[in-house]
Amino acid sequence: MTDVLAARAPADGALDVDALQDLLSSSFHVVVGTPRVVRRARLDTFDGRLARAGRRLQHVTETADERLELADGDETVVARLPERAPAWPAMAADLPDGPVRDDVSRWAGVRALMVVDEGRRLVRRAELRNADHKIVVRLVVDEPADRASTEPATVVVRPLRGYAKDADRAWRLVTSVLEPAADPLLPGSARPTPLLVEPVAPAAALLAAELAAFSAEIRANLPGAVADIDTEFLHDLRVAVRRTRSVLKLGREVLPADWRTTWEPQFKWLGDLTTPVRDLDVYQLGLPDMVGWLVAARPGDLEPFETHLARRRTAARRSLLRGLRGRRLRRLLDEWDEAVAARAAAAAPGTRPSAGELCRAELTRAHRRVVRGGASIGPSSPADNLHLLRKRCKELRYALEVFAPVVDADDVAKAVSDLKGLQDVLGRFQDSEVQRTTLRTYADEMLADGADAATLLAMGELVGHLDAEQQRARGEFDRAFARYVRPAGDRRMRRLYVDGGGRG
C-alpha cells in the first residue's frame, strides 16, 4: 500500500479515538499529539486548475502557525506564511518564494487563487512507531470542530516510503472498526460533465440548452470581472458572450425570427463593452514577451509604455464597470434567461429540424466557406482576404463547439485540432497587424504627453518585430492551408456532417 487512505466511522456510530489508539497499540508504539483546532481554506483558481492538475492547496491556520500545504498525491510540501499572509484572492506570485510557489504558478498561470471551500476541524496527529521508535505510519484524526456538525470524523492513514507492510497492518486495524472512505482532503475532479444530446432531438432544444449554459457562464464570471480578481474572468465572460452570439447566428433558422433584431444587438453591445479592457489586458499580459523582442533598446525603456497602458486600463475599466453594474445588463440577463427557458419549453419532441439535421447543414456550410475562402487566396491577395478567412474559421470552430453534443467527441476534437493549425497562422497574421496599428496610436498619445525618445524608439522596435512576425505568418499560410485541406482532415470533417458524426 503506498497511497493515502481514509476511513470514517460507520453511519450509526461515533469515532472513539481512545479505542482506536488501544487497538493500534497492539502493533505499534502510538504517539498521539494534542488536539488542535485547524482552520483550512482550500484555494484554487475559479476554473479549478489546481484540482485538475491533481493538486490540493490549503491555507492552514493553527495556533501560532500559518502555512500553505500543497498536496500532490501522497506528497505534501509546506510553505510557512509570513506574518502578513496574502489576502485571498491573490496571485501565485504573491506566495512565499519556494517549491509551493513554483508548482502553483505553473498550474494557476494568470489566474488568481481564491478560497473555494473552508472549514474548522479538530485535528489530532498520531505517529505509529516501531520497536526502534522510528515513525513507520502517520495518522490524522480529523473531526469537525463544531460539535453540532453532522460531518463524519475521518482517520487518514499516511504510509511512509519503505514501510508498506506497517501501513498495511495499520490500515487493517483501522478498518476493523471504521469504514473505508474517500480522503476528504484529496481534490475531486473539477471537469464539468459534457452535454450530450441525441441527434434526433429538436435543434431548438440543443440551442436553448447551450444558450442557458452560456448565460450561467456569463453570470458566474460577472462578479470576478467587476472585482477585477484576475484578467480571465472578463476573458471567460467574453467567450460566453461570443459563443452566445455564434449560437444566435447559427440557429437563425430555428430560433424566433425577432431574436435577430432583439437579442443579437444586445449581446453585440455586451461584447463591445468588454473589448477595450480585454485588449489592454492582452497588451499587459504580453509585455514580458515584448521585452524579449527588444534588440537595441533596454527593457526599462518600455516602463513608460507600461504606465500608459495601466492608465488607459483604469479609464477603460470605469466605463466597463458602469456597464457591468448597470440596469441594462441586469435586465438583459434576466429577460434573456426567461426567453431561453420559454424557447426550451416550446421545443416539443419531433420538432424539425432535428439537432442532427441542423448540425449537418451548418457544418457543411461553414466548412465549405473555409475551404473556398482559403483556396481563393494567392500570393497577391490583400490582407483583408486573410482576415475574412480567419472569421470563417472562427465560425466553423464555433459550429463544431455548438454541435459537439450531437456528434462523436473524438471526431470533433480531431477536427478542432486540424483547424487550430490554420487558425494559429491566421491569428498571428491579423493580431500582428492590429497590435502594430494600436501601438502607433499609443505612441501618438504618448508623444502628445511628452514621452521620451528612448521609449518611442523601443516601441518602434516592437512595431518592427510585429511586422516581421506578420510576414512570417503570411509565409506559413500556404503550408498551413494545404495541411488543413489534406484528404485525412477532409474525410474527418465529412464524417461529421455527411455521416451525422457517428452518434445516433
Binding site: 509551493v100 522510528k134 519503505g162
Partner: protein, 244 residues
Amino acid sequence: MKVYATYNIKGGVGKTSTAVNLAYLSAASGRRTLLWDLDPQGAATYLFRVKAKVKGGGRALVSGRRPLDAAIKATDFDRLDLLPADFSYRNMDLELDDAKKRTRRLDQLLTGVARDYDVAFLDCPPSVSLVSENVLRATDVLLVPLIPATLSVRTYDQLTRFVADAPKPRPEVVAFFSMADRRKRLHREVIDAIPRDRGRVADTIIPSLALIEQMAEHRAPVPVFAPASRAAACYEQLWAEVVR
C-alpha cells in the same frame, strides 16, 4: 538533482554529522532530499532510527538486481528519505569492480532516482577506493570536513590531488573546519594557514560541541532536538553557504 558528498580520507572528522544535519536542513527548506549512507558502519542510518539492512546487500544494488528506489526508506522528517547502509557495503569496491563502467556505476544508480529528488547527499566511508572514484564522478559538490590539525591539512593536500587527478567531470571541492576549538592555539593557526587556492574553504566553522555528539543519544539532527543552539545555527550557516 544536485548531489553533495561528505568525504574525507580520514575518519572521525564529522562527515556523518554534516551529512545528516545538512540533509535535514535541505529537506526542511522544501527540497526533496535523499541521503545515501555509503558507510558500512551505518552511523547516519542509526541516527535516523532505520535498520542498517538492504535486501540483497550492496551487491544487489550495484548489479541492479534490486532497484535503488525499492531500498529507500522515509525518515521521520518530511521530504527526507534515506538509502540505508548495509554491512555488505564493506565489499562495495569488489561489487563495483565487477560492474560495467566501474567508476560510473553509482552515478548511473543515482540517475535512476533523480526525478524523485532535488538534492542527494552521499555520506562516504573514509578511504581512497573505487567507491571514492565513483563518488567523485557522481557528485556536484564534495564537502570536506577538516579537523584543524597539521595532519588534517596534509590529508587535505592528498585529497585535492586525488580530485585533481580524477577524470572529468570533477566535483567542486568545498572544505570546512569541523570539531574546531578556537581556544586552542594550534586550531587557530591551522585555520589561518589553510591553503585556499585548491578549492573553496567555507567561512563557517563547525565548533567542537557536546551537543553535536548528543545526536547519537537523541537519534535526530541537531536542529530537531536543539533548534535554538549554536550548533544548529552553525549547520544552518554552513548549509546557506554551500547551497548558494
